[in-house]
């Protein structure tokens, strides 16, 4: 684990200048305002392809880390992050773009296979329980009750009923202009994004074919998005685009707004949201932590440098998971936050 102290020192100086306490000393990197990160473990992965394309992903939940790389979806026990244990894996016939997890299911965008529904209730033996073949390349999917929405390059947003997971039934689709990129759900709301500019909001509780309840066009829409409820009843949506952090306030789903475009020190590639705190995989600049409590004025809280380029970030409980590396060699870095 190699760390770049020069930038950390610069960050520390910045925090001091901003009036924060910056307890950067000794072997403990970062941070400020009560956020403290330190590496506690890692999982080697053979490659970390470019973010936004067919990419490796890590998502953690309840002591497990779910990692996709190429065609493989693999589950690790990370209850002891210092000693991750590989449990089980499922090999798709097509490359995995990305996935989202709802309960005991992983909804996988499996390229030309379409939607793949994995039962992950037994982490030692993830099992494909259903597929739905969209008409183009499926890149990600997300669930709400018995509905799953899929992002497909030819169709846009495709909605299927998975009451019978073995035989998903098409409900309808909505064409999304440009390149449809991502979809994420929060309650009954689904947020979909496209390049170059569109953010689409759908209410999945409504019957029938998907129709957006609102559409926002703003330059530099992110390829990958995350959504989170923040204090005060607001709802934030974030993503990385053009190396910047893009912040949306979607508290009113009928009238989403682009709250801010925030230039991070590096090149933002992916974002994870915890309430009003964004963890940004910031390329060469490692992990940046950004306060979004005032969405129109993002504020850098601190950073954590990595030896290698940070591509993807997620968190679960007290741990942050980062894919760092390059197309030849990479690892999932496990950080403890306190």
């Amino acid at each position: 684990m190699s760390r770049h102290w020069a930038l950390a020192a610069r960050c520390a100086a910045l925090f001091v200048a901003l009036g924060f306490v910056a307890p950067v000393s000794g072997a403990v990197p970062v941070i400020s305002q009560g956020v403290h990160l330190e590496q506690v473990g890692s999982i080697p992965v053979p490659a970390a392809p470019r973010a936004g394309y067919l990419a490796s992903q890590v998502t953690a939940r309840d002591g497990y880390a779910y990692i996709s790389l190429g065609k493989a979806f693999t589950i690790y026990d990370v209850s002891d992050p210092a000693a991750p244990q590989r449990l089980g894996s499922y090999e798709f016939p097509e490359e995995i773009w990305r996935f989202r997890i709802t309960g005991s299911r992983a909804y996988v965008g499996a390229n030309f296979l379409g939607l793949g529904i994995l039962d992950i209730s037994d982490p030692t033996a993830p099992r494909l329980v259903g597929t739905y073949d969209t008409l183009g390349q499926a890149s990600i999917a997300a669930g709400f009750e018995t509905k799953v929405v899929i992002i497909d390059h030819m169709e846009g947003l495709v909605m299927v009923d998975v009451s019978d997971e073995a035989e998903p039934v098409l409900i309808g689709s909505y064409y999304i202009d440009g390149y449809a990129r991502d979809v994420v759900t929060l309650g009954s709301l689904a947020f979909a994004t496209e390049s170059p500019s569109g953010l689409y909001v759908f209410d999945l509780s409504k019957p029938g074919s998907p129709e957006p309840v609102s559409i926002l066009h703003a330059a530099g829409a992110p390829r990958a998005i995350e959504v989170s409820s923040a204090a005060g009843g607001s709802t934030l949506l974030c993503g990385a685009s053009g190396g910047n952090l893009q912040v949306y306030d979607v508290s009113d789903p009928l009238a989403p707004i682009r709250a801010a475009t925030f230039k991070t020190p590096g090149r933002a590639e992916h974002v994870a949201l915890d309430g009003a705190v964004a963890y940004v995989a910031d390329g060469e600049a490692g992990i940046q932590i950004v306060d979004l409590s005032t969405p129109t004025k993002p504020r850098l809280l601190g950073s954590y440098e990595l030896a290698r380029r940070a591509h993807y970030v997620s968190f679960a409980g007290s741990h942050v998971f980062v894919i760092a590396g390059d197309e030849e060699d990479a690892e999932v870095v496990i950080l403890r936050r306190s």
């Binding site: 392809p49 030309f112 183009g136 390059h153 202009d177 440009g178 500019s197 066009h217 330059a219």
Partner: protein, 464 residues
């Protein structure tokens, strides 16, 4: 309808003859009128793999070049591999780790076929080169995607992937060949722009990873006459176009219109820049064409904030840029705008691969994921907005029209027949059940249609 072919003695007269006689000949990509075919009641509206098929033949290798027709000659090109090549993938394909680039290690033969128009029998086959392709190509591209062009005396063939420009006589004998610089293309997609023929010159636009050039060649000798090394703002990263140059004979002058990535540029016949438009899609494929005194230019990479269609008046000079860099970040197709030299433009209307069509008073845009739109060709006013053709069916071949109908050939090999005019109505669907990206030729009552492995002559009243 077999008319007596005119005997012409010059390339200019030959092309003019082809133009004056309508679709007796089909000398180039999209024919003499950019897909607008002279009406002919003998032309078919319906077909299948067996219905209205005069003949169909297997064509070896992989190629998406269009057939061209002169007299009894139907010319097609191909790159024939000695190995197994991966099949192309239909639909809007987003690349994986390698941008979709495929490198073949098998030896290829670059071949021209002359097929008899009446019978479908092979008149001759000429191998022009044999080698392992020096560069990769996109999985949807081929090593022989450029459409040849003919003036009735010679067939001019360009294989950009190996840098070979050549002239054959109609008996298949090589008149000359010229080596052209070969460059890696951006993201290893491989080249595709076809040569443009005007008078005694061939024009080749080469946008590649090293830069961009427009080169004029002598049709009689293959010698280079002039070369313009173009600068693209944004550098070599922006040298991403697969668009064929268009020689525009307008009421004021003759000029060469090139649709490049980032910029449209028009040159006089000596290669001097006349005007430019900054503001294109970063990947530009459609070929410009002219109607109603306007030249229509488009580009539409789906992920781009600027995917414009421009209708430009004759006589422009200097920088006539309309849209600011980065586009307006608005809903499709964006606002209609005009200027002194641009009759109309939309910032997001442009198609990815298909060229647009002007038929009668209307401008038709066929979007890659299966939508047709119609606008007033002179003013750009919307006649109808996005009309769905068929979900999931992608389009790369450019549309054509005759007898009051628009024809839209999908990548799945389905030709949708749409009523021309202000009301959108799908009249039928003709399926050939094989991937199709090449724009057909339409000549003497027949549609010459190329699928992935076959060449069809389709005409009324025949059944196989």
């Amino acid at each position: 309808m077999n008319r007596v072919l005119p005997c012409v003695t010059s390339g200019l007269l030959a092309l003019m003859g082809a133009s004056a006689l309508g679709q007796d000949q089909w000398p180039q990509f999209r024919g003499p009128h950019a897909g607008d075919v002279v009406d002919d009641p003998a032309l078919p509206d319906t077909w299948s793999e067996t219905e209205n098929v005069v003949w169909k033949i297997d064509v070896p290798g992989q190629s998406w070049s269009s057939p061209v027709v002169w007299g009894d000659h139907v010319f097609v090109t191909s790159a024939v591999s000695s190995g197994d090549e991966p099949a192309p993938v239909p639909g809007l394909y987003e690349e994986g780790h390698d941008f979709g680039a495929i490198k073949s290690s098998a030896q290829h033969r670059w071949v021209v076929y002359d097929v008899d128009f009446a019978t479908g029998k092979l008149n001759w086959e000429r191998e022009l080169h044999r080698a392992t392709p020096p560069f990769s190509k996109h999985i949807k591209n081929t090593y022989a995607t450029e459409t040849p062009v003919t003036d009735g005396r010679h067939l001019y063939v360009f294989f950009g992937s190996i840098g070979l420009l050549g002239a054959l006589n109609l008996s298949g004998e090589t008149v000359w060949t010229t080596k052209v610089d070969v460059f890696e293309t951006r993201w290893q997609y491989g080249p595709a722009a076809s040569p443009a023929l005007h008078d005694d010159r061939l024009y080749i636009l080469s946008d590649n990873a090293n830069g961009t050039s427009l080169v004029a060649f002598d049709t009689k000798t293959g010698e280079e006459i002039w070369r313009v090394l173009r600068e693209q703002h944004g550098g070599a990263n922006w040298s991403r176009s697969w668009s064929t140059p268009f020689v525009w004979e307008n009421e004021l002058r003759t000029e060469i219109v090139t649709a490049g990535a980032a910029s449209v540029r028009s040159y006089d016949l000596d290669g001097n820049l006349l005007w430019k438009i900054d503001g294109m899609s970063s990947m530009t494929v459609p070929t410009p064409f002219a109607k109603h005194g306007l030249v229509y230019i488009s580009a539409g990479y789906p992920g781009e904030a600027l995917r414009p269609v421009y209708a430009v008046r004759a006589g422009a000079s200097g920088d006539i840029t309309l849209w600011k860099k980065g586009g307006p970040a608005t809903a499709f197709p964006g606002p209609l705008r005009s200027s002194e030299h641009i009759a109309w433009s939309y910032p997001l209307l442009g198609p990815y691969s298909t060229s647009t069509l002007v038929y009668g008073d209307y401008h038709y845009t066929l979007l890659d994921r299966g939508f047709l739109l119609c606008h007033d060709a002179r003013t750009g006013e919307e006649i109808y907005g996005r009309q769905r053709i068929e979900i999931g069916n992608g389009f790369t071949a450019s549309p054509w029209a005759y007898n009051g109908k628009i024809f839209l050939l999908s990548e799945d090999g389905d030709t949708f027949v749409v009523q021309a005019g202000p009301e959108f109505k799908i009249l039928g669907k003709n399926a050939l059940d094989e991937m199709s990206l090449a724009t057909p030729a339409v000549v003497r009552g027949s549609v010459i249609l190329r699928t992935q492995s076959k060449l069809y002559r389709i005409a009324r009243g025949t059944r196989r």
